[in-house]
C-alpha cells in the first residue's frame, strides 16, 4: 500500500519562513504543500471559495500574524465550519505570548508551535507534528 501524499496548506506571509518550512518537510519526504497563501484573506478564499471542496487540505500550517485577516480569525472560521473543522490546524508562529496560545486553544487549534530559531528544531517540530496529525487524519478518513 502506498502512503497517500498529504495535501498541506501553508498560510505564511514570510517567503523565507515558507522556504524553510517547505525544505524541512521535504527532508522528511513530505512534498505535499499543495498551496501556499500569503495572507488570511487568501486562506479563507482557498478554504471557502467555490471550488474549495476540490482541494481540501489534510493539514493546515497557519501563521498568526498575517496581513489582512490574522491567523486567529482564520482558525476560528475553520473550526466553526462544519465541513472544515476536522482538518488538523497547526499554528506555526513566532509568538509565545500567553494570550495567543490561550486564544488558539479556545478556538480549538490542534497544535500550537512556536517557530524555533534553529533549523534542526524546526525540522524536528515539523516532523513530529505533521507525522502525528497526518496519520490521525488518514485514520479518521478510513
Amino acid at each position: 500500500m502506498t502512503t497517500p501524499i498529504p495535501r498541506i496548506l501553508l498560510v505564511e506571509d514570510n517567503d523565507d519562513h515558507a522556504e524553510l518550512i517547505t525544505r524541512a518537510l521535504e527532508e522528511h519526504g513530505i512534498e505535499g504543500i499543495a498551496e501556499r497563501v500569503k495572507d488570511g484573506e487568501a486562506a479563507l478564499d482557498y478554504l471557502f471559495g467555490n471550488d474549495a471542496a476540490d482541494h481540501r487540505p489534510d493539514v493546515i500550517l497557519l501563521d498568526l500574524r498575517l496581513p489582512r485577516i490574522d491567523g486567529l480569525e482564520v482558525l476560528r472560521r475553520i473550526k466553526e465550519a462544519r465541513e472544515l473543522k476536522s482538518i488538523p490546524v497547526v499554528v506555526l508562529t513566532t509568538s509565545s505570548a500567553d494570550r495567543d496560545l490561550a486564544s488558539a486553544y479556545d478556538s480549538h487549534v490542534n497544535a500550537y508551535v512556536v517557530k524555533p530559531v534553529d533549523y534542526a528544531s524546526l525540522e524536528k517540530m515539523l516532523q513530529d507534528t505533521s507525522t502525528f496529525w497526518l496519520s490521525w487524519n488518514r485514520r479518521r478518513k478510513q
Partner: protein, 384 residues
Amino acid sequence: MPRYFAVVDRPSDSEAWADDGRLVAVFEAAVDAMVIIDAVGTIQRVNPAVERMFGWKAEELAGHNVIKLMPSPYHEEHDEYLHRYVTTGERRIIGVGREVVALHRNGTRFPIFLSVGEVGGSTRLFVGIMRDISAQKAAEAARERLIEELEAKNAELERFTYTVSHDLKSPLITIKGFVGQLERSVTAGKMERFRSDVTRIAGAADKMAELLDDVLELSRIGRLVNPPEDVSMQVLVDEVLELLSAGIESTGARVTVESELPVVRGDRTRLVEILQNVVENALKFSRDAPRIEIGARAEGGFAVCHVRDHGIGIDPQYIDRVFGLFEQLDGASPGTGIGLALVRRIVEVHGGTVWAESEGRGHGTTMSFTLPLAKPPIAGSPTS
C-alpha cells in the same frame, strides 16, 4: 472639670446646651457647616459656615425646611431616614456619615459629606454636619482620569512590545534557519542554493536593522525636540513635494494642491514627516500615473488635512489596521509598515487625530488628519 463637658456627656436640656457660651463659640467657629433641625426637618439654627458653603444667611434659613439645602432625591431619602429613626429607632443616618449632594443658593449642586446626630433635650432636635467635598471629588476624578490614561498607555506599550518582539524574531528565524542550511548545501555541492541562502540571510539582517531603526524613530516621537512653530500648510506641502520630486517624476504623478491652505502649529520637522509619509503612500499604492489631491480646511481650532489618491484603495474591513505598527495589508509591499504608525504617533502627540477612508479596493484612499491651527495674530500687534 469645665461645665460644658458635663453638658456634652449628658445633654439634658437643649436650651442649656445652646446657652453655654463656649459651646456656641465652637458651633460658630466650625469650618464644617452645621444645621440644627427638628424632627420634621425645620431649620432651627445654622452656623456661619452654612452661609459660606450655601450662600444663604442664617435668617433666610431659620424656620424653613432643610429641603432648601438638599435637592431631590436626597432630601426625600433624608426625610425618610429621619422619620424611620424617630418612629423605629433604626439608624440609617444617625451617627453614620454619607455622601450626598447639596444645593447652593445659586442653584449649583455640590457634593458634601453629611453626618447627622441627635441633639436631644426637651424638644427632639438633630444636628447635620456638612463638609464640602468638591475639591476631594475633583481630585478623585482627576486621579481616575490619570489611571485610565496610564492604563491606556500601558496597553499601548504592551501592544508595542508584543509587535516588536514578534517582528524582530522573524528575521532571526530566517538567519538561523538558513545558516543551518549552508553547511548542507556545501556538503551536497549545491552552490547556487548556498548563494541564494546567503542572500536571504543578508536580507534578513538588513530587515532587522531597518526594524530597529524604525523602533528607535518611533520612540523619539514621544519627545518633541523642536519647539512648536507656526507654519503654513502650503510651505509644508511645497517642501514635501520637493523631497518627493524624484518619485513624483518617475511615476508621472499629477499632484493637485488646494489654494489657501491654513497655517498650523507644531514641530515643523515632524509635520513634514506626516505629509511625506502620507504622500509617499499615495504614490506607492497607485497604479500608472498617480493622481493625488492635497487640501486642508480650518475647523474648530484644527486644520483638517487630506491627501486623496485614486490608487488601489483599501477594503473597508481592514481600514483600521493600516495604522498598526509594522502592519502591511499587502505583504509584498516594500518597507516595514512603520509609515502610518509614525504618522498616527506624530499627529496624536500634536493633539490631533488621523483616519483613512476608502470605498474599497480600486477606489482610491483618502488619508485625513487634524493639526492644531496657529493662533490668529492679535490685531495691531507688530509683525516681523
